[in-house]
């Protein structure tokens, strides 16, 4: 029994070490890209001049029961600095006054749109055109979820690039220009994702970010370090390998032809954004098409993070289900010929450490504690495990803070950095474990989804 316990203990220790080293390696991979970004600032910071040859962009904004936020959000989008863009709001069968407030604020009138139904969607009821803003249309449709709304938006869009957004995404005036830049510099770009930062505590004026500050909410504060550690620099590391698997739902630009070619968004998945990107990798690789997926590390999109543990749980359960669906729905990526870093590194890494990660993490915490309490492993081994988990977690968070300090320095005051270091220390004492439990819940929901699919009740 003790031999099995000892073997298990070593397994969990090795797992945590490998996971942390993997993330650290991705942070290191991000360094050259960040250094280059810093070096290029003298040419990057010059005021934008447009030639009229920039690719026009359709901003797609799915909205379901967004009566309170939609007008301010659309108003802010219409003020973006970009030579040519349109805003297509898709009212996804809202039961509140979303459509009514839009009609009133933007003077909408029905428009006989000849929709190109390239992607199958739920029924479109009416297309409205704004009298005040020629580049604003609203598509009213039956409720079908975010993916279905985005497919409707793609059908209604008139430009070669589209930007998928959330109603609560807060942008800067130059955000669209920055996220489109990869399409200018690399003609093989099919998708470009913007960094999402946490807006809690920041000042927002006219729907745009005016000043950056740290939030009062402890939960939001913990998420700031978590976003830096797990979302920003790690993704930049994957981008260096052309293996970005996630384009944030809050702000991502895609080449429309490429997305239509692979069938658009899948309406039967939770994480439609990740699923689409993984599918794009899979299909385009299989066809031997040259392509690239970029990640823009500049802070260009901000979002409100959940401030209650319940809302956070709902978010993480959803993310985890989406992740599992995306990876398993595209499992053919494992059997296809060839493939690059996305197949040989990113997908296995995501599967082992992101998708099944919470299973190993929670099992690690529970079994190691139980084995120590039952005397199956020595106290020293258990202490070593805890020290390792804690110290590696802290090292990862500090390395993310180091990269933030090196590059963007959004929190310039010493007190802000001190607070973030404290958060990096504290998040290992409960927050990370809680997130693992939430994510495990998401994984369990995904397993239940599969069982229901295969064994539906009569």
């Amino acid at each position: 029994m003790k031999t099995i316990a000892s073997g298990l203990a070593w397994f969990f220790i090795l797992y945590f070490v490998l996971e942390s080293l993997g993330h650290l390696a991705l942070n290191f991979l991000a360094i050259p890209a960040l250094r280059r970004k810093i070096a290029l600032r003298p040419v990057d910071d010059v005021p934008a001049v447009y030639s009229g040859l920039e690719p026009p962009v359709s901003l797609l904004v799915p909205a379901h029961d967004e009566e309170k936020a939609i007008v301010a959000s659309v108003g802010a989008l219409l003020q973006l600095e970009y030579p040519e863009f349109e805003v297509v709001v898709v009212n996804d069968g809202s039961t509140d006054g979303t459509l009514a407030v839009l009609q009133e604020a933007f003077e909408l009138e029905p428009f006989p749109e000849a929709l190109w139904r390239r992607l199958p969607t739920r029924e479109v009821r009416t297309v409205f055109q704004s009298r005040k803003h020629p580049n604003l249309r609203v598509v009213d449709k039956e409720h079908g979820g975010r993916a279905d709304s985005l497919n409707v938006g793609i059908n209604a869009s008139r430009y070669p690039l589209f930007c998928a957004m959330d109603v609560d995404s807060i942008l800067q005036r130059d955000s669209l220009r920055r996220v489109v830049e990869p399409f200018l510099d690399d003609p093989h770009t099919i998708a470009s994702g913007g960094t999402v930062r946490i807006a809690n505590g920041c000042t927002v004026t006219d729907g745009h970010l005016a000043a950056v500050a740290l939030p009062q909410s402890r939960l939001a504060l913990l998420q700031i370090v978590e976003y830096l550690r797990a979302l920003l620099f790690v993704r930049l590391g994957w981008a260096a390998l052309n293996a970005v698997l996630v384009i944030p739902s809050a702000f991502g630009v895609f080449r429309k032809d490429a997305v239509v070619e692979v069938g658009g968004y899948r309406a039967d998945t939770i994480g439609e954004d990740m699923e689409l990107v993984v599918r794009l990798h899979r299909v385009l690789r299989a066809r031997g098409t040259r392509y690239s997926v970029h990640f823009v590390p500049d802070p260009i999109c901000w979002t409100q993070a959940p401030e209650s543990s319940r809302a956070l749980m709902v978010q993480r359960v959803r993310w985890q289900r989406g992740l599992a669906q995306s990876l398993h729905g595209n499992r053919a990526i494992f059997t296809m010929k060839g493939g690059g870093a996305e197949r040989w590194l990113a997908v296995p890494f995501f599967l082992l450490f992101e998708c099944y990660g919470p299973l190993f993490e929670v099992a690690g915490y529970v079994l190691m504690t139980a084995m120590w309490l039952l005397g199956l492993i020595p106290g020293a081994t258990f202490a070593a495990f805890l020290a390792l988990v804690f110290s590696l977690g802290f090292l990862l968070s500090v390395s993310a803070l180091y990269l933030e300090e090196m590059s963007f320095r959004l929190y310039p005051r010493a007190s802000q950095m001190a607070l973030l270091v404290l958060v990096a220390l504290v998040e290992n004492l409960g927050y990370r474990q809680l997130m693992a439990v939430f994510r495990l819940g998401g994984l369990a929901r995904w397993v239940r989804d599969i069982r229901i699919r295969f064994h539906p009740r009569a």
Partner: protein, 337 residues
């Protein structure tokens, strides 16, 4: 071990912060004097004295000078250039260009470009030919600032072939230079009709003198079977003498050519092209129908009432829908597609 590494990173953060604060203060202390000298030099080429500038401060000084210089023009810009030369900073900018870090080289590229310093030509040409996207483009831009025509000739192969040189950014440079300067290079490129990068040349052609560029492009209509070439040529059709070409392109096997034909017919056609456009309005491809409907609304001599009648009598519902769409769009806007 992990804690030691974390502590080392925290120390590195502290050092970075301290270094940055020290450097910011140092630059703030000097910047006032630099700005004063630049202000004085703006009005009088002999005025403005700069204290010796340490190597550490040189990139920040040049960055400031670049910004000030870019906002000036005419005599003020010449005077500011004189200020740099008087203090031997032009020579030091050349040194940075050859031996600096990436950031310093980029700053120096802008400086030598603004100074129109021909001594930098060979270095810039080498960087433009070998560097990565941003660096090579910055070098090309500096070359164009130094001697536009010579630079355009030297860079024409890269302009056509390097698809990492954004056409939108090139367009900004071409627009800034103006038609008189860019037209000779553009006509040479167009006459050579490169197999790769033709679409780039055609897009840039809009910055040239239309009277000289358009005949070359239109000439392709009778000389090529390549759909890309015919499409480009159709976009330059502006004379009713070319109507037969546009009408024959309306039945081309490639839908993009039919779409371009619809656009051309809308531009130069009259009511006699109605039948061709109505045929295109029933095309299986959405974009062809869309442009055919747009063209109908632009046809010389067609009234909205006549179009409404056509729409009401259309048997093909795709055609009717598209025409309704185009009619509704008429008072609102014209979109570029």
């Amino acid at each position: 071990m992990a804690f030691v590494l974390a502590a080392a990173l925290l120390a590195a953060i502290a050092v970075m912060r301290a270094w940055r604060r020290w450097k910011r203060r140092r630059i703030e202390e000097r910047e006032e004097g630099w700005r004063r000298a630049m202000q004085e030099a703006t009005d009088d080429p002999a005025a403005g004295t700069l204290a010796p500038i340490a190597s550490l401060d040189l990139p920040e000084f040049l960055l400031l000078w670049n910004r000030v210089q870019e906002s000036r023009g005419g005599a003020a810009a010449d005077n500011l250039a004189q200020l740099l030369r008087r203090h031997g900073l032009d020579q030091r900018a050349l040194g940075l260009l050859r031996h600096g870090s990436l950031r310093r080289r980029l700053i120096a590229m802008t400086t030598v470009g603004l100074l129109r310093d021909e001594r930098a030509w060979a270095t810039l040409e080498s960087i433009a030919g070998q560097g990565g996207t941003v660096v090579s483009f910055a070098a090309a831009r500096a070359m164009i600032q130094i001697e536009p025509r010579r630079a355009l000739d030297a860079l024409s192969a890269s302009i056509v072939q390097r698809d990492d040189w954004s056409i939108a950014r090139l367009g900004c440079i071409f627009a800034e230079l103006g038609p008189a300067i860019v037209t000779p290079t553009l006509t040479t490129m167009l006459i050579s009709r490169p197999r790769a990068g033709l679409d780039r040349v055609v897009k840039l052609a809009k910055f040239g003198e239309r009277g000289r560029v358009a005949p070359i492009v239109r000439g392709w209509l009778s000389a090529s079977d390549d759909p890309d070439v015919i499409m480009a040529a159709l976009d330059y059709v502006e004379d009713e003498r070319e109507l037969p070409w546009a009408k024959s392109a309306a039945s081309h096997a490639e839908w993009r050519v039919r779409m371009a034909a619809a656009r051309a017919l809308g531009r130069i056609g009259s009511a006699s092209e109605l039948a061709t456009l109505l045929e295109l309005l029933r095309d299986p491809i959405w974009w062809v129908r869309y442009h055919a409907a747009q063209a109908l609304t632009r046809l010389h001599g067609m009234t909205p009432e006549e179009l409404q009648l056509i729409r009401d009598n259309a048997r093909d519902h795709f055609a009717a829908d598209m025409l309704a769409h185009a009619l509704a769009l008429m008072p609102i806007r014209r979109v570029r597609l």
